[in-house]
Symmetry: C2
Subunit: 268 residues, 2 copies
């Protein structure tokens, strides 16, 4: 049992919870909670930590035997309560966390190359709120989106809050971070025939007046500022989500959800 927070593994987990740069360097991130860890594909599990006494509970026993069966080579460590509390990112730790390997998705995965359906992509420019990011990934799975493309100034998808709010979708929705978002959009358009839509004040047609049966991408901008002019200029078309009342904008994850579900509705 690990009993000290100065243990190197524990110190590393605390660092991985806090620093996007370290996550990126190690290609590892932290997943917390019984159900969340159970949803991690076995091939991605790197190590598991549980609080002292967890293995003696009924839930704990079942959990440990399930994991041992599906991922027999993954090390599991028992950790003293005080140590577990300090490595947890949540207020009420459930007593289990895993170190998980990042997946190496490609643009081809995001385009849905493995599926029979046309591309259905969400492009995020500098989205900042972890809850919005997590919700967009979760809704993307539900709406059958093929993947997500982000620029480097978008909130880190592997931060503990984002991971939590994806409800497991992070393992199932292909996603890539690209260094030049504009260049990538031009590539989607020229090489893959993707129509790229930007929700924009300049939009003259409503979002439900376009045909999303073909390869489609929706651009969503930063919560406070929307899309930059530079990025919006890469769009094939501007669209408008109508708003009544005095509202100036919708929440970014709501706008993304309305667009993704409209594409899903049209494709049914």
């Amino acid at each position: 049992m690990i009993t000290s927070t100065t243990n190197n593994q524990i110190k590393n987990i605390m660092t991985l919870n806090k620093k996007a740069r370290e996550r990126k360097a190690q290609r590892l991130f932290v997943v917390e909670g019984i159900r969340a860890v159970a949803e991690v594909p076995a091939s991605l599990l790197h190590a598991i930590y549980y609080v002292e006494g967890f293995g003696a509970s009924t839930d704990g026993q079942a959990f440990i035997s399930d994991i041992s069966a599906k991922a027999p080579k993954v090390p599991m460590e028992e950790v003293a309560k005080k140590v577990f509390d300090s490595m947890s990112d949540t207020v009420t730790p459930q007593g289990v966390l895993a170190l998980v390997k990042m997946q190496d998705f490609t643009l081809s995965d995001v385009l849905g190359a493995d599926s029979s359906k046309p591309a259905h992509i969400v492009i995020l420019e500098s989205l900042q709120d972890p809850g919005n990011m997590g919700t967009i990934i979760r809704t993307a799975e539900g709406a059958g989106a093929t993947g997500i493309i982000m620029n480097g100034t978008t909130v880190d998808i592997y931060s503990p809050k984002v991971v939590r709010s994806t409800m497991g979708s992070i393992f199932r929705v292909p996603h890539v971070v690209v260094s030049d978002l504009g260049e990538t959009i031009e590539k989607l358009k020229a090489e893959h025939g993707v129509a790229v839509y930007a929700a924009h004040l300049k939009g003259e047609k409503f979002y439900d007046e376009f045909d999303y049966a073909g390869p489609t991408a929706f651009m969503i901008g930063n919560e406070g500022n929307g899309l930059t002019d530079e990025m919006a200029a890469h769009a094939t078309s501007y669209l408008k989500i109508p708003m009544e009342g005095q509202l100036e904008s919708l929440n970014a994850s709501v706008a993304a959800s309305i667009l993704m579900y409209e594409a899903s509705r049209q494709r049914r």
Copy 2:
């Protein structure tokens, strides 16, 4: 200038930030931030507090003269920086907050009695997350919903986090808390001809296969547990929001947004 946190007004604001019961008893709540306070209808302003030095800044001067013009009788108090920081609910206070009177909406307001359009209502059962609640109110305004009905175990709509995330919609979307949600739903159905839809696993038709041109209400349940069987039994019809992948549910505010915008789409 108020220089002590033991000042009664300051103590009261701290209490109102924390306690739903006190907000309810005094019929007052706190709104923070320059833009948010500027959006409060003048008739609802009860008192305004700003941090020392705010009135000397260009923004501050403009703000104070705007408020003085539109609400000349509302008292404004300058507060020492340390005191302001302790009465603020945010990490980076903007230096202005207001005590605001609650509006007395009725079920008739929620039904849209004053508007020409048929009722378009969201019914919330025990929703817990302030961000979800705020997002639903904000989207409701955008989608042209006529109002929101909640039960008493729903998160308090006047909590600082909810108020912030409504982006001003809280003043413009009629809302009521009712003691018996089931009874209210029966009344909506019997007396106002409202069709009440519940997103439910038992739903056999997709959400876009119903006609929402007439008076319509959507029921949204608690984040973890969904609608209780008792409440779902009051629905006119069950509907299904299709989900691909392995997703078990959508975020509550996303589900509400998809439904409200489908009604809005059909009504255009």
